[in-house]
Amino acid sequence: MSLLLIDISTFELILFNGYSELLANNMLLNMKDPCNPTEGDWKIRNDAKNKFMDFIEKTYEELYKLESKKICGKSSISVFCRFDIGLIQNAQHINYFVNEVERTPTASLWMNPLKGASTFKSRIGLCGSTFANILYKWLQDTSNPYLI
């Protein structure tokens, strides 16, 4: 395994140009509903979903590695976390970005039905059962004195 040392100040030159560099075009700001498009070519929708999930997965993997290296152990995000994703724009590009990572028991779950939305099906059962299984595995691993 190789060891790579990077001077973080080079990153700062790329990222930190000032507080007012961010833009938002009128079309973007005037969009009424930026989620769940009901029209458009299936391939475009499929590629868009893959691109969003690809961003989430790559960011999660990198964050897990960075946090786990820092603590020389498993980052708690491997059990549960919530990525809050926004859209960000500069002169050339629009990208997704991670605005916040929540990972404590106080994280809002946004799973209650909306008032008046009779067709809303809560996913609390899906998330709760998955979390229970993963937390149980984490407990087993943590309490196992022979697991390296």
Binding site: P34, Y60, L63, L66, F80, R82, N99, R103, L126, C127
Partner: protein, 151 residues
């Protein structure tokens, strides 16, 4: 924190006690997200730690570490953006204030909240804050616009 640490000798605590302060401080998270943004060729809003007495940038969002659920956040043009007011908040050991570039799309278009359990995205919900009503709306997400369509 000391009694919490003592308690964790008797019980299993999640998130692990030794990670709690790193999670709360947010500095480490911002630093890591900036590195990842460079690596994945994406963008990040400028975020800088403020020391008591530093001038507070007018066009930036002021927010505090060791806080969640939208607490301790002051938007541009909101009242109370001065150190006298910031120092009135109850003191939390190690807590610091940040200035983060204002991202207009966050309030206008909302956010996608992705729940990752066991390393897998399980559920995504889109949320939007309605300024006039001071309420949130949300809906589960199963379809996406491409970034090109947002251009």
């Amino acid at each position: 924190m000391t009694s919490f640490s003592t308690l964790s000798r008797l019980l299993y605590v999640w998130p692990p006690v030794q990670q709690v302060n790193g999670i709360g401080s947010k500095q480490q998270l911002v630093y890591h997200l900036d590195i990842i943004a460079v690596k994945t060729s994406s963008l990040r809003p400028v975020t800088k730690v403020l020391k008591v007495g530093d001038s507070l940038p007018k066009d930036a969002v002021i927010k505090r570490s060791h806080s969640d659920c939208g607490q301790h956040v002051l938007m541009p043009n909101e009242s109370g953006r001065d150190w006298f007011n910031l120092n009135q908040y109850p003191k939390v050991p190690g807590a610091t204030w940040f200035a983060q570039a204002y991202v207009p799309t966050l309030r206008k278009l909302g956010e996608w909240r992705v729940f990752i359990i066991g390393g897998r995205p399980i559920y995504t919900v889109h949320t939007k804050y309605h300024e006039g009503k001071s309420t949130w709306s949300w809906e589960p997400v199963d379809s996406f616009y491409s970034l090109r369509e947002f251009q």
